[in-house]
């Protein structure tokens, strides 16, 4: 029976339009002759009518795939998936085949009759093997019959047990979230199923913690201090179970998923409302990564970059493999002037996904800010190989090439960036400077004017100032910020720029 996934269903409702477009297309089928080619390859590799055999003649020892000790043939069992030899207890201790990439949990060995045959007639078998080597089709050969080997349960491993506990805790929390959604939707039967599922998983989780703690109790019954954290964890889960039972009795009122509501409020520009919802989401589930990421966005949009950074730290602690969050943190650190931290995050994202164009672009930004123009150029070129339609990468590449005296190339790159992202201020500035370098002052002036995109003149100048800063041209940024303040002394962006970088010298 498939697991009911309310969050997934909600996602699909939210993106119905995109899915409708995707469903109008079908992925390309494999070439018509691929099956035939596979069949031919198999025929080529397999000896015709070759019998089923197992490596090693009688008396030739194997090695256990797990412990790598010598393993007499008569004592060997074999993985049912890849026939890798194992000691029985090694297979049991590991819980599965130790051959890389296998993971099979069943163990087999040849039936006793076949073993007796092999011990009695080695010469006959050797002779037959020679025949096979000679490639004669139809050589007489006996097929091996296999019998399963019972695998002993592995000894209790507290490290593995705790991993199992964490898995159960996460699944129980997912069931709990599904319960909340079902209650909101008025689906009482589903809510009951999810409540039971969450209860069962948390109950098993507590049993595991109990078992771990039992192994580490002092003679007088108290827990070894090194394991007190497990007791606290057990207390948390026990409380969750109590809350779950209260809920079943009509406890806290049903509520909509606060994360969903927060997204809606954020989209509508209600930052305060979104923050309230996200605080609530995190109170219900302190491990909800998406809530931290969204709350970071709320903080960033409220100009509280430090709070945004704290939330991104937490999100990454919970899910270190999230390249998108690493890149958000990299950009935030960049904005806060922490170039080392920004670079480290971009590089970490690249380690996780070398083909992530955004990570190459972000590293390029940081390298450019550090004056490493050639390295930045290499990153930008790599980003564009991976994702040729990212306007920001074309803009920055144009800027780097301008710095290297390649004004023609810079202008071409800026043209491309403008095609892709005409509402972005930066490529207009790049093209303006490139035109200036080529002596085309009229185009340069037109592009500088075009870069003033906002209908309100002071704000347009302030945004152009920010774009100059993104390119690293502080003087131009200060000039535009000062001009913005002459029109509107209260412009926050312009004031921030001059506060940070100071006014232009007279």
């Amino acid at each position: 029976m498939s697991e009911h996934d309310d969050a997934g269903e909600a996602l699909e409702r939210e993106f119905e339009d995109v899915l409708a477009t995707l469903h109008a297309f079908t992925p390309a089928p494999p070439p018509a002759d691929l099956e035939e080619r596979i069949a031919m390859t198999l025929k080529k590799d397999a000896a015709p009518a070759a019998p089923q055999v197992v490596a090693a003649l009688p008396g030739v020892s194997l090695r256990c795939t797990f412990c790598h000790d010598g393993l007499p043939r008569e004592e060997a069992s074999f993985c049912a998936g890849c026939l890798a030899p194992h000691h029985d207890d090694c297979f049991g201790r590991h819980g599965r085949c130790a051959a890389p990439g296998c993971g099979e949990v069943r163990l087999v060995r040849p039936r006793a009759a076949d073993q007796r045959l092999s011990r009695r007639r080695p010469r006959a078998l050797l002779a037959a093997a020679s025949v096979l080597v000679a490639g004669l089709v139809g050589a007489a050969a006996a097929r091996i019959a296999w019998e399963p080997v019972p695998v002993a349960a592995p000894p209790f491993d507290p490290v593995r047990a705790f991993e199992e506990y964490k898995r159960l805790d996460q699944e129980a929390m997912a069931a709990f979230r599904a319960l909340v959604m079902a209650e909101r939707a008025g689906n009482a039967p589903l809510a009951q199923v999810k409540r039971a599922e969450a209860h069962a998983k948390w109950t098993r989780a507590i049993d595991i913690l109990n078992r771990i703690l039992d192994d580490h109790r002092e003679p007088h019954g108290t827990v070894n201090p090194a394991y007190e954290g497990y007791e606290e964890e057990m207390g948390r889960v026990a409380q969750v179970l109590v809350d779950l039972e209260k809920r079943a009795q009509g406890g806290p009122a049903q509520e909509r998923d606060p994360l969903v509501r927060a997204r809606e409020r954020l989209a509508a520009g209600d930052l305060a409302g979104a923050r309230t919802d996200l605080d609530r989401a995190l109170a219900l589930d302190p491990m909800r990564v998406e809530a931290y990421v969204l709350r970071a966005e709320v903080s960033a949009r409220s100009d509280d970059l430090r709070a945004a950074l704290d939330d991104l730290h937490r999100a990454i602690e919970l899910d270190p493999g999230r390249t998108d969050v690493l890149l958000l943190r990299s950009r935030l650190r960049f904005d806060l002037g922490d170039l080392d931290g920004s670079l480290a995050d971009a590089e970490r994202a690249l380690v996780l996904d070398p083909l992530e164009a955004g990570a190459n672009l972000q590293r390029a930004r940081v390298r450019l800010a550090r004056g490493e123009r050639e390295a930045a150029r290499a990153d930008l070129e790599r980003a564009l190989q991976l994702a040729p339609r990212v306007g920001a990468a074309w803009s920055l590449l144009g800027w780097v090439r301008l710095g290297a005296g390649e004004a023609d190339g810079a202008r071409a790159n800026a043209d491309r960036a403008i095609d892709l992202a005409p509402d972005d201020v930066v490529p207009w500035l790049v093209r303006a400077r490139a035109s200036e370098a080529l002596g085309d002052l009229r185009q340069a002036a037109a592009d500088l004017e075009r870069a003033l995109m906002h209908p309100e003149p002071a704000e347009a100048l302030a945004r152009r100032a920010q774009a100059w800063l993104a390119l690293g041209d502080v003087d131009a940024a200060r000039a535009d910020a000062a001009a913005a303040l002459e029109l509107d002394a209260r412009n926050v962006t312009a004031r921030g720029i001059l506060r940070e970088f100071g006014p232009l010298p007279r």
Binding site: L11, V18, T21, G101, A129, L355, A421
Partner: protein, 177 residues
């Protein structure tokens, strides 16, 4: 026991599992393996090689029922495709191959988008997001099944799907991601 010597060393020689029908297995799992390999490598020739190698490995396994074979096949195809990507130093220019990733079903194209535009938008997605979209949209796996396939938590799969959808929506609307 039997042994076969090749060049002086014992070697493992195994029949294709009795009763394993290549045609049936290919019908069942071949197109999905090809789609996955293509989505990862973005290279039709490489995808063909990956599928071929995956099937040869799958059908050279120990003789058991083909119960776990489909999942094993998928994992193998995925790993081989990722290996191919890692070996490739420079990503190939995919412009010429883009149109081969998708074909339009019968009927008018939504919003005037053609296969090339949609394929390009998919190629611009990070690999992990592209894979989730393929498995959910075209392979029809549920999100929990996708999570099991890509060996990531369900929440992570949801996030990847969300980001992919947002990027695709922006791309289809003509804005750069």
């Amino acid at each position: 026991m039997w042994g076969v010597t090749r060049g002086g060393r014992e070697a493992l020689v195994i029949d294709p599992a009795p009763g394993t029908d290549l045609a049936a297995l290919f019908r069942r799992a071949g197109p999905a393996a090809y789609r996955l390999a293509l989505a990862i490598t973005c290279d039709p020739a490489a995808a063909e090689d990956v599928v071929q190698e995956s099937f040869v490995r799958a059908l050279s396994r120990a003789p058991e029922g083909d119960g776990p074979l489909d999942g094993w096949l998928h994992r193998t195809a995925r790993n081989l495709a990722l290996d191919h990507l890692r070996r490739r130093k420079v990503a190939a220019d995919r412009a010429g191959d883009v149109a081969l990733l998708l074909a339009r079903r019968d009927g008018p194209a939504p919003d005037g988008l053609d296969a090339q535009a949609v394929s390009r938008a998919l190629l611009d997605l990070p690999l992990e997001q592209r894979e989730v979209v393929l498995l959910r949209v075209w392979e029809g796996l549920s999100f929990p099944e996708v999570a099991a396939r890509v060996e990531a938590p369900l929440g992570t799969v949801h996030s990847r799907f969300r980001y992919a959808m947002e990027r695709l929506r922006a791309a289809f609307a003509g804005r750069a991601p």
